[in-house]
Symmetry: C2
Subunit: 128 residues, 2 copies
């Protein structure tokens, strides 16, 4: 019984509908116009449900303040096959003022998650 | 605004309810009796919904056939804080006969996922 594919496509870690978590990390993030915003540093999973709760975005430099991690509710991200990236339909100013932490910081998620939910809570998720 | 915590706890990648995908990979997997079965090699995410569809388990040697990857529907895994591991309430013989692939193989998930769903489809998920 063989499940291998003759093509060179990376079916090991990605299909048209699925992607390995290890491959999500590093995926580009852009805005609706396709402009690069950063990349996915890691994704936070709910242990029990197995649902991605937050995508931790890494913004390197474009804000002029060095690399920072900006956690976003997963529902704010829409995967775009055209861009081969996750699209975040948010204004840069919204992201600039959003909760974030430095790469050397250790966030306390027990309070941090609440702040993220509150910050983005009133915004409508992008259409799927 | 500080989100850091004074404790030495790794809040960066894990909380009581959440865990970073990068940390799930490598987490132990055991049966209901707490016996080690292997570990999580990777998790496959649905790009659109952000839900973990399959947990790819790595079985190293206990079957006597070298390391193999056994994808399991995520609903078959229950996280146990007591064991600090994911518990799979399945008989070893069920796992032995389940779809798997070698570490050097490249599975074609477009057909493979269907086989996994079919194999485990008739079994009841563990109680949450």
């Amino acid at each position: 019984m063989s499940y291998t594919t003759p093509s060179g496509t990376d079916h090991h870690s990605e299909t048209p509908t699925m992607i390995a978590a290890s491959k999500v990390n590093g995926t580009k993030v852009c805005n609706a116009a396709g402009e690069s915003l950063g990349s996915i540093h890691d994704v936070m999973l709910d242990k029990q449900s197995g649902h991605v709760t937050y995508a931790v975005m890494s913004f390197g430099g474009f804000l002029g303040i060095g690399e920072k991690y900006h956690p976003l509710p997963w529902r704010q991200l829409t995967y775009s096959e055209a861009y081969d990236a996750y699209v975040v339909n948010l204004d840069k100013r919204v992201l600039e003022n959003a909760p974030s932490y430095g790469t050397a910081d250790v966030p306390d998620w027990s309070i941090y998650g609440h702040d993220i939910d509150e910050y983005y809570g009133s915004r409508q998720p992008p259409l799927m």
